[in-house]
Every structure is written in C-alpha cells, then in structure tokens.
Point group: C2
Chain length 130, copies 2
Amino acid sequence: MPHDHEAILRKVRQDLPTDELLCDLADLFKIFGDTTRVKILYALLESEMCVCAIADLLGMTQSAISHQLRILKDADLVAKRREGKTIYYHLSDDHVRTIVAQGFEHLIEEHLEDYPENTSPVQGEVGSGV
Amino acid sequence: MPHDHEAILRKVRQDLPTDELLCDLADLFKIFGDTTRVKILYALLESEMCVCAIADLLGMTQSAISHQLRILKDADLVAKRREGKTIYYHLSDDHVRTIVAQGFEHLIEEHLEDYPENTSPVQGEVGSGV
DNA sequence: CTAATATATGAACAGTGATTCATATGAACG
DNA sequence: CGTTCATATGAATCACTGTTCATATATTAG
C-alpha cells in the first residue's frame, strides 16, 4: 500500500496560486534565463542604448539583438524611444534591478567558498548606475 | 558612415560583470523558468514534501518530478532528508522566497489594469507559510 | 533472500527557442 | 524619388530540454 499524504496535499493545494499565475511567473523568469537577454538588461541598468550599440557591446548580430529586444518589450521589461533613425531602449521599471540583484545574492551565497573574504564578486555594483 | 557610441560602450563595458557571472545568473533564472519547477518550489514554500506527494500534487509522473528535483538540487535551491524509504525535499535557503516574490510583484504591476482595486492576485501570500 | 514501496537514472522523443540569413520597413538627406 | 543608415521581421536551422518509458538502486518487512 502506497503511503499517505492527504493532510499535506490538502494544506498545500489551498495556498497554491492558480496554474495560470504560476505559468505567467515561469514565463517571466524564462525571459531572464538567457545569457543574451540578461546581458542586455544588465547593460540597460547603466544607460539607455540603441540597438546597434548593444549589438556592438555583445559582439552579436543586430538581428539577434532585435529579436531579443522584442521579447523583452513584449514582457514590459524594456521600452523604446525614437530619435531620428535611431531607437533607444531603456528599462521600463525597477523590478529588473531588484530581480537581478536577488539572483546575484543567491549566486554569491552559493559560491561563498570561492569568495570567503569579499562577499561581492561584482565590480560595478547593481544599482550604482544611471 | 555608421553612427558612433564609443562613449557609452566604454562606460557600460566597465561596469558589466564578467561573462561567466552573467551566464551563471542566466542559468539560475533558467531554473525558475519552468512551470513544473516553479510549482515545486512554490509547494515547498509551504512545507517539505516527499517526491510522490509532489507528483500527486502536480498530477505528474514520479519520474518527471524526480528529474526536476535533481535540477533544483544541483542548483542548491532544494535539499533532501531521508526518512526510511521516503525522501523529503525542502528549500535550502530563503532566496527562493524573495526571488519568487519579486517576480510576482512585476507580474502584478504588469497586469494592474486587470486588478485595479486589489494589488494581490495571490490568496496564500508568499512568505506566510512554513 | 524475496517482495514491495520509494526514488533515481538513462535513453529516446518531441517541442521549444535562439541565432542566422535574407529581406522588409522607416527615417533622413541630397 | 533614390540612397543610406537603423531597426524589424519571417523562415530555416540547430541545439537544448522536459517528459515518458523502462529499469536500476535503496530501504524496510516478512
């Protein structure tokens, strides 16, 4: 006879958000789960940038960057501003900053043995820019 | 002649963390970027659980859950505890709580028009559990 | 030791997603 | 208008990843 967990299941089921909400949450994190996009977001923490500047910075195709910017924009993480032929992208709110910062904290704690004295492996601290 | 952004590039390059660090950060978020894993983490916010209880909760195969738990464990997001034949998983630290909470805040703000009065679509608030 | 329960793991399959290439849109300038 | 620079987009490709199935390991009971 398999063992019983009805008690815990009932308790957890009660407080678990809806499927839809949890999917949305996963989708949001999915966006942060790509090196290119994280780099773009991190760069935009410092300053707004045009598409070709970002492409230059990351050493990637303008097309690749444009595709990723579209994804970031659809998620309301970045917004654009036109100036002649150039389009400048910037962060649309400050959640990016806090989400990224939390991620870093976990990384640092995870690798504490690598940095026993200094708790911050980041030179340019998150949040110091702009 | 293509336009110039040396000034901005130099500034941003200076404060951009290393490639390795940014990859690690993306890898961390990648883990949150899956519905099944988010659900598991969310469930563990409430209480520790054994593998088959989680499988029951999510209506998924024990194998599928086990595979995902391995990924979560490799990232140091969960830890296990043996009790006879049963293995109980629990969150290994509180970063999960804060990261998830930040994600929610962004979602809420993004869909503010859907919940104009009440800013929290979550019944069981994050952080109330355990 | 054998059977039963609980979990882990490896291979295979299917779906997803990031990049590239080619091309389209859009703006400024002569 | 036609050209040039800046960005966007669609199709194709390639790699990655989540699930399933079958099976292995591990613990307890008899």
